[in-house]
Amino acid sequence: MEHIRNFSIIAHIDHGKSTLADRIIQECGSVSEREMTTQMMDTMDIEQERGITIKAQSVRLDYVKDGKHYVLNLIDTPGHVDFSYEVSKSLASSDGALLIVDAAQGVEAQTIANVYLALDNDLELLPVINKIDLPAAEPERVAEEIESTIGIDATDALMVSAKSGMGIRELLDAIVDRIPPPSGHPDATTKAIIYDSWFDPYLGALALVRVFDGAIRKGQQVMLMSNKEQHQVLDLMYPHPLKRQKTPAIKSGEIGIVVLGLKEVSVVNVGDTITDAKNPATESVGEYEPAKPFVFAGIYPIDTDRFEELRDALDKLKLNDSSLSYEPETSVALGFGFRVGFLGMLHMEVIKERLEREFNLDLIATAPSVVYHVYLNDGSMVEVQNPSQLPDGTKIDRIEEPYVRATVITPTEYLGNIMNLLVSKRGIQEKMDYMNEERVLLEYALPMNEIVVDFYDTLKSISKGYASFDYEPTRFREGDLVKLDLKIAGDVVDALSVIVPRTSSLSRGRALVKNMKEIVPRQLFEVAIQASLGNKVIARETVKSMGKNVTAKCYGGDITRKRKLLEKQKAGKKRMKSIGKVQLPQEAFMSVLKMD
């Protein structure tokens, strides 16, 4: 065990985590030059396109220092707040972490959030200042920032350029020297944590585990501690992005892939503990909580006949993503669809995109909603995930909504704008620290509802991209909230209802109808767009009827061309949703909250 090092990499987006991982893999000679594709660790199309890591990947590497052989287990972590639960389990499986900070950007909000998680897990943190070859690099200033804001010693911070490979050898040596070897009892009964799981079309559900005590052996009967289910270990492998290596056992201190031959990934959940079935451990590794969705949205096929296809597609995605939850729901406006729970906004976008791209579905997603705790006059509480289901106002005693602790780091010049934004989003300041003369760290309690749409984009635009943001859910607080309905051509479109603070309902209603007017194209009929609270209309706009859609000439030689033109226009309309005699484009359903 003293020759094993288990470490994670934590960083803010774009600070170079994936590039550094690639370089480490290459330096250990584990992947030849020829096999090296950039961003080895990001395997999904969407990950590579967006330059983000969604699923954690791991790799077991061999490294020689001073004539001794070491096993370095690189445990990659998802790079987005939506997946912080998975991040925390990856960190729990590590004994140390590289804290990557961009030499030009400095410490960012996500860096801080991740550091808190690492410190919670008692990890040895190795500060690594990356991109030191950039012209704008200020490694000394960044080192100071790490010391002042994070409170860890950065005098021995490693200076690297993942892009050029500068400092990578020194970094690997430091991993060996400074990260402690794993601890654990090789002779005790099996105890391992699942820190990632996914579905492999050939092998079924796979669990990526870190073994703490004992070992997992091929053929062993194991048990999952969350539900006491027993399974046999069919195979074991060490992880590698290209060539997994089979092994008869994964021993104390090691990481590895466990093949249980299961058809669904939902049985091997991140955070669960694997133990021996005959001689189970008494305590699990840390506390297991099933992944909990924070954001809900309705997802509907534009073509109502494709509901079953949507169900199949969701079922297939669920095989690979146990955090995805969904239930059928019906909307008067949109027909049959699903209310889908997501870990956060990115998760929602990724799922919608995968459904459309991999399953070729045209979908409408309604505006995302958080979960409200609605206390009724009779003392009971209902959880409302869909604004149109909010009970009648006369029955409601009070509504509580979820809050987050938002961390924002910004250059001081944008501080005024950002504080205005946070106040307009009903934020309550909890902390304001000057990190140095140029940058400020803010912590606010914010209703989660205020950040589910547009907040991040607005923050980025008012700070010219310089402010960074992260959040973690905290608790529920009472809010004076009302349901704002939207009527199109006289009928309430249930999929467009939103829950808003009473005090801003009038301005939201006005903004909503105005925004909707821009989105709804002119049609054969005049279309009234109204916002209402209950039966009371508080704002109205009208989309005038169309004046003309015809071409001047259509004789014998023009008919085919004309038909093809109309077919094209028709294909465009097919992507719209007919509600009564009005056709609404897809953006209409998402745009409900975008109105600043």
Binding site: L524, F525, V550, T551, A552, G556, G557
Partner: protein, 351 residues
């Protein structure tokens, strides 16, 4: 059955025109007219056209009046027995090349309807459209045709241009109806790729109120609007037949024909056409395409859309439009009440 003959020669190219025409190929006229004769013979044969079956002939262009009547003679000689006794035989003509003798020669061959490309009676507007004739040329040409006793005279007008003013359009209409005509085609200027105006899209400018005023002013003279761009004391049978989706022969370079639900396209290039006038590429129309065509053609004209053409959901949507007064419905046919919305209504109704 109808017959369309395309004459791809012009004295000059108008700024808005994307039709197949050449200004520098006059030396090919004789060859070309021999080739169209050849194609005519071939098409009559391959479609088993019977005597008297052709209800209308339309000679369009290009500019048919750039070709002297003598060169049309063999074509007419062959065609004559196939024309019905009541056939409408139209030739398009340009006010400067349609001389009295050309008109007389064509009348002798059997032309009983002439459609003049007048566009406007305002010399400044004509110039900006790239037309080579003047107001006086147009008046003279129409008067000459009437003097010869040509039964039906139509003229084309262009509106919805940036050069229009209400008084200009009024003056154009006043002059139009002072002439002995029985038909007007009024086209909103549209910008086509490959034309001079393609780089100046701002010259197309429509005010819908003005358009509606124009329509009703024309109708006040007893010229009923029977399609979005066509008005007449009596409609052109040739035009109406296209919108009824009747079969048509297409003869000449860049002409299009459609028989037995196969649309065929002879060579567009004049040299290629002269070399092999009977060659064509074909497009087979599927039932759904024919249905779609019948719907949008019926909606842009008095032809209307028969309910039997529509599926249940389509019929329901059409009825919704009757309730909203966008359509009327009698004798099992839906009729459009506002041709300006024809395409939108077609999109609304069709599955």
């Amino acid at each position: 059955m109808l017959l369309y003959l395309h004459i791809p020669f012009c004295d000059s190219k108008c700024h808005y025109c994307s039709f197949n025409s050449y200004v520098e190929k006059f030396h090919l006229k004789e060859h070309y007219m021999q080739s169209v004769h050849q194609q005519l013979l071939k098409d009559l044969e391959r479609f088993h056209v019977t005597h008297g079956a052709i209800e209308s002939l339309f000679i369009g262009g290009g500019t048919p009046s750039t070709v002297p009547p003598k060169l049309y003679e063999p074509f007419f000689k062959t065609l004559r027995p196939y024309l019905s006794t009541t056939a409408e035989c139209t030739a398009e003509a340009n006010p400067n090349s349609a001389t009295s003798s050309w008109l007389a020669g064509m009348q002798q061959l059997g032309i009983n309807r002439v459609s003049f490309g007048v566009q406007s009676f305002n010399n400044a507007k004509l110039k900006r459209l790239g037309r080579s004739h003047s107001r006086d040329d147009a008046i003279r040409a129409v008067t000459n045709a009437a003097a010869l006793g040509i039964a039906h005279i139509s003229l084309d007008l262009i509106y919805a241009t940036a050069f229009d003013t209400p008084s200009l359009l009024q003056a154009d209409l006043k002059q139009t109806f002072a002439l002995p005509i029985d038909h007007v085609s009024a086209y909103a200027l549209s910008i086509e790729a490959g034309t001079v105006f393609a780089n100046r899209p701002e010259v197309a400018k429509e005010h819908l109120t003005q358009t509606r005023q124009l329509f009703s002013a024309i109708e006040q003279h007893g010229f009923k609007q029977y399609e979005i761009s066509n008005f007449g004391i009596s409609p052109s049978q040739h035009n109406l037949s296209y919108w009824r989706h009747l079969p048509y022969l297409g003869i000449g370079a860049g002409a299009v024909g459609c028989v037995n639900n196969i649309r065929y396209y002879p060579h567009r290039n004049i040299e290629a056409y002269i070399q092999s006038p009977c060659f064509n590429t074909r497009e087979t129309l599927h039932d759904s395409e024919i249905k779609s065509e019948r719907i949008f053609l019926g909606l842009r004209s008095i032809v209307g859309v028969s309910r039997h053409l529509l599926g249940a959901a389509e019929f329901q949507r059409a009825q919704l439009l009757v309730d909203a007064k966008k359509l009327t419905f009698h004798d099992n046919v839906f009729y459009n009440t506002d041709y300006l919305l024809s395409d939108e209504i077609a999109l609304f109704i069709e599955d």
